[in-house]
Amino acid sequence: MTTAVDYSDATRATGEAIIELEGVDKFFGDFQALKGIDMRVGQQEVVVVIGPSGGGKSTLIRCINRLEKHDGGRVTVDGIELSDDIRNIQEVRRETGMVFQSFNLFPHITVLDNVTLAPRQVRKMPKKEAEALAMQMLTRVKIPEQARKYPGQLSGGQQQRVAIARALAMQPKVMLFDEPTSALDPEMIKEVLDVMVELARGGMTMIVVTHEMGFARAVANRVVFMADGEIVEVGTPEHFFTDPQEERTKLFLSQIL
């Protein structure tokens, strides 16, 4: 289901490439989830990935921060090519924030601790400094007053915003969103999308798997349509709304719009 949210006027130039995928293959047993994906994402670019479920969208962005290991091709993030070296992987993960469909907040610690955990443990930031940063991020997602609560006390929309703050606290260069609003009640989708739109307008490089076409229209530089492990069509949001070329794209869009 989609909510009609009107975000007008968002244009952005495509900068230097920060993420490069060259001929990326991924197998789950015999099933090929990604078939030679080529993709470049420029700095400050916002790419929205759409497509039917099982088409490889999530697998694609999970290969960018090595939650899935790609089986062929090359993945380069901010000049670092992903290899089996754990230090190399850690380095890439420090530069990429990720937001999950099911939030995945740590339920046993407070909201503030969720956000300060990575800066303190990974960036070795002193407690005071990390907490100041965390409060800044929580203010950015508009829930500073919830800092001392536990994730279980918050609504889904609030939890997802905490998850965004948690990712932002690492001050990443790229943000990956894996269906961030799919698990939310309709009335909470907007509060999360608003935060994401602000983030995009603030110049964050983002890859977003979502079916929120209002969001795509407002801030996406490019929309990528994926099906059966392949990129079927790429274009501006305008292109997708007015003049989709491929049959599969047309069929899919007719189903979700």
Partner: protein, 415 residues
């Protein structure tokens, strides 16, 4: 295939709420002739059995317990050294009090910060929570012949309660060092028992030995169990194979076999002059055995942590061991609390198995006193066994209740 619904002719489909005990009895106990017959026959049997037990216990001569109370409690500890177990008891009173108090204060502070309602424990609630223990203490004290043990026990309870309120009042900065105080108190209690010409654990017995074997067994086995559980999930085949083999081997053997192996088989392997004493060997056998069970309990907890938690930790760049320590283990161990207490309860009862090897723990003590010349052939087993049963039941029931309470508080099963 069709399944026919069972037909209840006597009960109407709409079950009316029972109006009173008479109605309830008519509906559930006397609803037809054979149920009525069964009810009467069973009731007669239960009444007869209870009467027999009560008559046996009321009419019995409790001299056997009175005369052997010290043997039941602390085994063959020298009579002139009794200040030592008492000193240890006071150490533990302070330990439980302080730890309990500071945990309560910690929970209170966290709840306040998170804006949750906080209910502080009152003295009345503590009494309600621990009534079985208090009843047991009264029963045991009723078998003492002088006033001294009663005074000392009341003193210990008072000290424990005082320590609880002190622990609750401690500021956070001091509260952080409670674990150090706990270790110091445990060391002090052991020193009080065994130091300066006292009796080491080789000479312990009675309930004291059961408690020692249970607590030490679980505490020492826990880290090993944790390592085995993580080893079982390791991606390195060698570690995984070793862990699985150990766990499955030990779990496939009865505890008593491990104890007998520790008692006799080890004797052939280790030369006499470096061979540890009997109780130590039993303790090692218990630890080796419990580690395998704890490993399986922990594994269950590890599996209960959703995959997304690990992914979220990885995604923010947390190193694997930090992911384990900060994200997975705290959640996994919380989920294992009920099973862990179950393990604790069964070990408490299983420590009686060391009796087979001639160690006078509580159950064995309640047996051997029946062979004393004064009581031989008087059929007082029902008295001594009931006494031992009461102690074990109170211990296990209290632990089980506390575990359920802890579960509710930590919200196990809720996310």
């Amino acid at each position: 295939m069709t399944v026919e619904a069972p037909v209840f002719e006597e009960t109407p489909p709409q079950v009316e709420p029972a109006r009173g005990p008479t109605d309830w009895a008519r509906k559930n106990l006397f609803n037809n002739w054979y149920n009525s017959l069964l009810t009467v026959a069973l009731a007669a049997f239960v009444v007869w059995a209870l009467l027999a037990l009560v008559r046996g216990l009321l009419g019995a001569d409790y001299e056997i317990i009175r005369a052997n109370l010290r043997l039941f409690m602390i085994g063959e500890f020298p009579a002139d050294q009794l200040w030592r177990p008492w000193a240890a008891t006071y150490c533990f009173a302070v330990l439980f009090g302080t730890v309990g108090g500071s945990l309560a204060a910690e929970a209170r502070d966290r709840a306040t910060e998170a804006g949750l309602p906080n209910v502080s424990t009152t003295l009345r609630q503590i009494l309600i929570r621990f009534w079985p223990i208090l009843v047991l203490i009264v029963v045991i004290l009723s078998f003492t012949t002088t006033i001294t043990p009663t005074l000392l026990t009341v003193g210990a309870l008072a000290v424990g309660l005082g320590a609880y309120y002190l622990g609750r009042a401690m500021p956070r900065a001091i509260r952080r060092w409670t674990w150090l105080l706990a270790i110091l108190l445990i060391a002090a209690s052991y020193l009080a028992l065994a130091g300066f010409g006292g009796v080491g654990w080789q000479g312990w017995g009675g309930l004291h030995l059961n408690l020692f074997l249970t607590f030490t067994g679980i505490l020492v086995a826990f880290p090993f169990g944790l390592l085995l559980a993580m080893g079982r999930r390791s991606s390195l085949p060698v570690i995984r194979t070793i862990s699985v083999t150990y766990i499955e081997l030990v779990r496939g053997v009865p505890l008593i076999a491990v104890l007998i192996a520790g008692a006799f088989a080890v004797g052939f392997i280790i030369p006499r002059d470096v061979r540890p004493g009997f109780v130590t060997r039993m303790l090692i056998a218990i630890i080796a055995f419990e580690a395998a069970y704890i490993a399986e309990v922990v594994r269950g907890g590890l599996q209960a942590v959703p995959r997304g938690q690990v992914e979220a930790a990885q995604a923010v760049g947390l190193a694997p061991w930090k992911t384990m320590r900060l994200i997975v283990l705290p959640q996994a161990l919380r989920a294992t609390i009920p099973a862990m207490v179950g393990q604790f309860i069964s070990l408490f009862k299983d420590t009686t198995l060391v009796a087979v090897l001639g160690i006078t723990e509580l159950l064995e003590a309640t047996f051997v006193v029946n062979s004393q010349p004064a009581y031989l052939g008087k059929g007082l087993f029902v008295v001594t066994l009931s006494f031992a049963a009461l102690i074990f039941w109170v211990g296990c029931y209290t632990m089980s209740r506390e575990s359920r309470r802890l579960e509710r508080k930590l919200g196990v099963g809720e996310r």
